[in-house]
Amino acid sequence: MSSSLAVQATNLTFDYPARGKAAARRALNGVSFDVRRGEIFALLGPNGGGKTTLFKILCTALSPTNGTAVIFGFDIQKQADEVRRRIGVVFQNPSLDKKLTVLENLRYHGQLYGLRGGELASRVSEMMERLAVADRARDLVETLSGGLARRVELAKGLLHRPELLILDEPSVGLDPGARHDLWLYLQRLREKEDVTILVTTHLIDEGDRSDRVLVLNEGTIVALDTPVRLKEQIGGDVISIATKDPDRLVGRIREKFGITPTSFNGTLRIEKQAGHAFISQVVDAFPDLIEAVNLSKPTLEDVFIARTGHRFWEDK
């Protein structure tokens, strides 16, 4: 077993059973990947793509229907307690007790992880200092703002010095400033303390901030690589053309240039080297059919579109 791996997931599959009127649904379909020690690894995908199910399985809250995962050499099902000791979990929904103070929350939580006495006290105050919540130690959690509460969640997840921190959509509900701080902190954590970080997100730019991105759609992996390499695979620039008659324009472009654009919602999309030159050609050729043209460098969203044929936020 390689010690350089934090997570090895093999063929993870999860079916939500039929419940009432809702039919059974496959949320994860044979997902396999590795997370290396010390990397920031993002699970990127639209809502309902299977991220949260995968998150729950990896943090031992849910048992996979099939397949398994090994975290630092321990099986998530057979050695759940060994896994639990080594991971810190930050949930999307708050997990703090609102009726308790910040201090009480951290203290009780530390005890659940076997911390006690002086070690517990120093760990709690250290984490409160680091996440800048020490001045609110004796305040009830229900009086904290969303951003502050998220920092306490983070302090709580890190209290027992986990080797792997797993976060589910940590920036949901945070304002841009707090989001920025969160990511700075995650990056520092990885660099200074060698904590491996696995984060689920539906935000493209958070994928860009990670070392590697796993793009998940409808329960399957559509891409897995560094953000830079994923974007390189797009092949040059991304040109989008707004038109009133997409079908006709697709046909005409195919005839003239031998390229088949993808089309949705009145916009054609073409990936091409030297996009600027192509733009003048295409506008010259079909001036009547084109409403607007846009040229951009590929983003992770373009990767998503290229691999799935639909937009990140498109309802199917």
């Binding site: 997990s95 007790d97 992880y113």
Partner: protein
Amino acid sequence: MSGSFFLSASALWRREMVRFIRQRSRIIGAFASPLIFWLLLGFGVGSSFNPATQARTMGYQEYFFPGTVLMILLFTSIFSTISIIEDRKEGFLQAVLVAPVPRSALVFGKLLGGTSLALMQGVLFMLLAPLVGISISRLPGTLLMLALVAFGLTALGYVIAWNMDSTQGFHAIMNLFLIPMWLLCGAVFPASGAPGWLRVVMMLNPLTYGMAAVRWAIYGSEVASTMDIPGFGLSIGITVAFAAFIFLAAIRMTRRPV
């Protein structure tokens, strides 16, 4: 076996205590409503209560007193388990479930919390006992018995609450199942005066034996043996067995993988 069993159970127990103390309305609700019940029913039924089989004359206020203590235990311990539904909804539970905590410690901490709260309230009410001529000289033994009954009731509440997703559902069960269970345990009227079919129901009700065990503890064998209640050994036996059985059921339920 994990050495963190007691540490984590005690953390969860202390959390219950702190939460309870912060919610003053809960303290008042769990104590004041049985007190009012006791006063109103006690005065209302009063002299019309005259069980023929009692060797010693006993007013209704005295008869109903241990019944009220049991009601306090029921209310406090059962309501403390409603917090499981809230914990699940508000997210606290998810964090506990991914912590390296034995599931049995989670259950034990929670039940110990409910038991302690019930016991505190029950003892507070027991201090009024001399008012109706009940001696509190047997308080230590009574405390033990109350703790045992409260533990069983808290476990029962836990088992009901564990799979529930709304507190409304819990209240429905409280009204349909738990209150009748209390009404038919000898807390409000003795089995001797009840029609035959009701007496059968009362005999099958495990709480009947909890109620009897509390009366045995409060009165001692000399007086209790003249009352029309199940015997001492049977009462304790069933009360212990009930608490143990539901406790194990609660652990089993909590261990079930999701």
